[in-house]
């Protein structure tokens, strides 16, 4: 392959002129974690002489036409005047940046179009461009430029992780409940080991008799190259990932669910293991109707040696679903390390270094999306700004005989920028190309960098599917649910199912019945307990939505049921073995009083929480 002179974008007979694209992504506001609808959304740049904002729901709300209703976060400008716009469905559907849609603005300046092209676009009404061939061409260019942008992709990944962490905000009430239940265990006459608040999956595993590993087949969501075909359901995690990075001291919440989600109701058991063991890693579960929120916290002691980072381990979830023989597995590789921001680069007025940082040969993908080639230099960012910049960036393909490859640069930021390469339709897979980048400064000074590239076809990603693989799972091959949950209403109060075979009363919260040959442990919740009835009325009076009311009642029920379950286990472990009165099992009246106390505490706590 011979190298020739730099050929910057060649003229195209069908060239309609130029457009310029700017994309801005703002950080997610901290307030958004609380109550978006109640935030006064003043812009960060608010100064004394500027109008106050109307409330808005997103970081870009105050930059839209109307903070509450405006959705034109993609604007098309002619001489700075907005002539058309798109809402954030463009960002989601065309660019695929779902989690950036409320933080992103895209500005497309079409001043550089040829007059004929502008003439086709602009309408006398100024109410929008004509949606014809010029529009389509612009639309395609915007998608090609931004869809493969690695900066945006990175932000999208971060945003996705942030969305998961958002759920930690909802955990506050549950944490308080956990603490309360913990404290309760200390005062109650129990002898269960471990943390009652952290719904310890491994403890549950032990309680379910699952301590002995037995070889067995597993079904996991994997690419088709693994194992044999199997059936749904499988375990899935949101955000979808096979690996996850944890920061010491910072909660990370993963949502484990089933795919399809409707199978979750058939979940018989869910356990987790961390292999190799990491004592400082706390895993807590909060089970809900359609998923389980798994809170991960790496809490190192003060004397933890920083040189031990990164800590690597694998978090495995194993689930049994009713009617399914094989255990379902979900494995997530965990990397634990503190966040260390990269050092600020030293940037100069007279840059001396220009280099391509993308691994070579750079793969240029066929298709409608541009390839972003990473470039670094040590020049200050504003050297290339303005109508008469001091330094000019030029780049292009220097392979002999190859024309029609359009290239542009992104604006440098902290010394980093990209060369965008748009392959022409006649590019062929395997074609080897050489590119040259020149930064031309004042007085004839210039810096040069080159890179080799190969035209490639983006492989069709193998869609993961349920695969049967070999492995080891703890416990037996089949298991029934650990308990059955039943609700007691007022008309059933006389059925003698409360503790000690007594009838129910208005102050009874719950009770359990021990398992028999014919039925599992049965947890009974009194739906018509007077305090629960008052709580329902309180929620309704606060005009909470139906879902919010359901969610809080679910929280109450699940926690009371969980506590009942623990009471049963405790009672089983405290069989009288000697004369020591302090180790006797609780009496039915003591159990009745205990679950009442727990229920009342929960209700009071939920009444004062938001």
């Amino acid at each position: 392959m011979m190298a020739g002179p730099v050929s910057v974008s060649t003229a195209d007979p069908a060239d309609a002129g130029n457009i310029s694209i700017r994309v801005v992504v703002l950080p997610r506001k901290l307030e958004e974690q609380d109550s978006p609808s109640e935030i006064e959304d003043d812009p960060i740049d608010l100064v004394a002489d500027e109008m106050l904002a109307e409330s808005g729901a997103s970081p870009i709300a105050s930059y839209l036409e109307r903070p509450k209703t405006g959705k034109l976060c993609v604007v098309f400008l002619v001489n700075g005047q907005r002539h058309d716009g798109l809402d954030n469905s463009f960002i989601v559907q065309q660019l695929g940046f779902k989690y950036l849609r409320k933080r992103m603005m895209i500005i497309i300046d079409v001043d550089g179009l040829r007059p004929e092209a502008l003439g086709e676009l602009i309408q006398g009404s100024r109410q929008g461009f004509y949606k014809g061939r010029v529009w389509e061409a612009i639309f395609g260019r915007v998608v090609a430029t931004l869809k493969g942008d690695p900066d945006l992709q990175k932000l999208e990944e971060d945003a996705e992780a942030e969305v998961a962490e958002l759920q930690a905000g909802d955990q506050k009430v549950k944490e308080a409940l956990d603490t309360l239940i913990d404290a309760h265990h200390h005062y109650a006459d129990h002898a269960i080991a471990g943390k009652g608040g952290e719904v310890g999956l491994e403890q549950a595993e032990s309680a379910l008799g699952a301590a002995t590993p037995v070889p067995e087949s597993l079904v996991s969501l994997l690419s088709p190259e693994h194992g044999q075909a199997a059936d749904y359901p499988v375990l899935a995690v949101i955000p979808e990932a096979s690996s996850c990075t944890l920061r010491p001291g910072i909660d990370r919440v993963l949502t484990v669910t089933s795919h399809p989600s409707s199978a979750w109701s058939a979940l018989a058991s869910l356990t987790s293991t961390v292999d190799p063991k990491v004592p400082e890693l706390h895993v807590a579960e909060d089970r809900a109707a359609k998923s389980a929120a798994i809170r991960l916290l790496f809490d190192p002691p003060k004397d933890f040696d920083p040189s031990d980072y990164p800590v690597r381990t694998t978090l495995r979830f194993l689930a049994r679903f009713n009617g399914q023989k094989e255990v379902r597995q979900l494995a997530i590789a965990l990397t634990i390390k503190p966040h260390t921001p990269p050092p600020e680069p030293e940037l100069l007025d007279e840059p001396t270094v220009l280099k391509v940082s993308t691994r070579q040969p750079v793969r240029l993908w066929l298709g409608s999306t541009d390839t972003h080639v990473r470039v670094r230099w040590n020049g200050k960012d504003d050297l290339t700004l303005g109508p008469s910049p001091r330094w000019v960036l030029k780049g292009g393909c220097v392979s002999t005989g190859r024309t029609g490859i359009a290239t542009i640069f992104s604006q440098p930021r902290k010394g980093r920028f990209s060369l965008l390469v748009a392959l022409p339709p006649d590019a062929t897979v395997g074609e080897e190309l050489r590119f040259e980048i020149i930064a031309a400064g004042p007085h004839g000074v210039s810096l040069t960098a080159a890179f080799d590239a190969v035209v490639s076809e983006r492989p069709e990603p193998l869609q993961p599917e349920p695969r049967l693989i070999s492995g080891f799972v703890p416990g037996g091959a089949s298991r029934r649910p650990p308990y059955a949950l039943r609700y007691i209403t007022k008309d059933q109060w006389e059925n003698g199912t409360c503790f000690g075979g007594e009838n129910w009363g208005a102050s009874d919260a719950a009770a359990y019945q021990e398992p028999t040959d014919k039925q599992p442990l049965t947890l009974l919740i009194n739906q018509d307990m007077d305090s629960l009835e008052a709580f329902r009325k309180h929620l309704t009076a606060r005009k909470l939505t139906e879902n919010e009311v359901k969610s809080r009642l679910l929280k109450y029920t699940s926690h009371v049921a969980f506590h009942l379950y623990q009471m049963y286990q405790s009672a089983q472990s405290l069989v009288v073995t000697d004369d020591d009165e302090s180790y006797r099992p609780p009496t039915p009246n003591e159990q009745r009083a205990e679950i009442h106390r727990v229920a009342m505490t929960l209700l009071k706590l939920m009444q004062v929480s938001r």
């Binding site: 994309v23 801005v24 036409e65 001489n79 086709e120 992104s410 965008l420």
Partner: protein, 366 residues
């Protein structure tokens, strides 16, 4: 009503004061009642013979653009904000044109700027506004911000609200080149006529964008005065008129008309004297009275700030917004506001992205 008295009012310096303080539909109607206006039912403008039925010495309603079917070209706006933005664009052009004329006065051979932005950079020393917050050199940035403040004072958008009558007025005032009374009807009140197409440093092309403001208003008061050194042989003076919508009885084709003093469409004039000259500096004022924002109250002021910044997303020139208050909001467009925010985020070390790409070519067969 004696003609001499009427004529005196038309040309009277007190009329200018009245026009400048008229901000409600009732005030306009009271003023019109004192003027010798021939009712629209008594005089109907006819393209072939506009002098037919004309009463000398009186004012007549003449269709804007002298086009009886002008409603279809005026009622083009889908919301209240785009038309105001068009008026502001016209104001920016008037300011640029004044600067260009001064350049030509000093150097008749000066090449014209090739774009509005180039004109603004050449005449006002301002780059694209959203570049300014990104300039890291404090001295340079502060210098440009001072220029911004100066430039803003040449163009004003003023929102007022009469609480009693529950009426908005929206005024767009530029201190640009203005028009002589002899030319107002062929420029400011024309439709689809433009002398901008061969001036690459101006923005509009269709010559009718701003006229949509008439459709959003019950009345519009228009006042213009040419910068004295560029009256090009016309008599000096202040041209004025009032625009309203006329719905002829029994017809379905309304039209927009303005008060004309002569059958060819010329607007009435306030003769300049020392008193008048100080009341109205050169430039143009459009005051749209009874402006329909679709809703009432201070929320309109807030919405106006965001909407105008969004419609004029990256204006070539800044302007001042007086929205129901005496203190101006600086209007630089949302692109500038975003750049200012990202600059602040950068200083605070917070994560964000503000990425611009070089101009890139668009392939489309034309």
């Amino acid at each position: 009503m004696a003609d001499s008295k009427v004529t005196a009012l038309i040309d009277s310096p007190t009329l200018l004061s009245r026009l400048l303080t008229t901000k409600t539909a009732t005030a306009v109607e009271n003023l019109l009642a004192e003027l010798p206006v021939v009712p629209e039912t008594s005089y109907v403008w006819v393209d072939a013979d506009p002098g037919k039925g004309w009463h000398a010495g009186k004012l007549h309603w003449v269709p804007v653009g002298r086009d009886r079917g002008n409603a279809g070209r005026i009622q083009l706006a889908g919301d209240p904000y785009n038309p105001s933005a068009e008026r502001l664009i016209n104001g920016m052009e008037a300011i640029i044109e004044l600067a260009r004329r001064r350049e030509l006065r000093d150097d008749a051979a000066a090449e014209p700027p090739q774009s509005p932005r180039e004109a603004v950079e050449r005449y006002f020393g301002l780059p694209r506004l959203d570049l300014i917050p990104r300039i890291k050199d404090k001295d340079i940035r502060h210098g440009l911000e001072e220029r911004l403040r100066e430039a803003r004072r040449r163009l004003l958008l003023r929102l007022e609200f009469d609480k009693k009558l529950r009426e908005f007025s929206l005024e767009i005032r530029d201190f640009g080149i203005g028009q002589t009374p002899e030319r107002v009807h062929n420029t400011l009140l024309s439709l689809g006529r433009t002398d901008k197409a061969d001036k690459p440093y101006l923005i509009g092309v269709f010559g009718q964008g701003g006229s949509s403001t008439y459709a959003a208003s019950r009345y519009s008061v228009v006042i213009s005065r040419r910068e004295t050194e560029f009256i090009d042989g016309d008599p000096d003076g202040i041209g004025w008129t009032v625009v309203k919508k006329i719905v002829p009885k029994g017809r379905r084709d309304p039209y927009y008309a303005y008060l004309a003093a002569l059958p060819e469409g010329r607007v009435p004039t306030v003769i300049l004297d020392a008193n008048v000259a100080t009341q109205f500096e050169s430039g143009t004022m459009f005051r749209h009275i009874g402006y329909d924002f679709g809703r009432q109250g201070s929320a309109v002021a807030r919405t106006l700030f965001y909407a105008m910044n969004h419609v004029l997303f990256s204006p070539v020139l800044p302007y001042d917004l007086y929205a129901l208050k005496d203190k101006a909001d600086a209007m630089h467009g949302t692109a500038y506001r975003l750049a200012r925010q990202t600059a602040q985020l950068e200083r605070e070390g917070k994560p964000f992205l503000d990425n611009s790409f070089q101009p890139q070519s668009v392939a489309a067969l034309l």
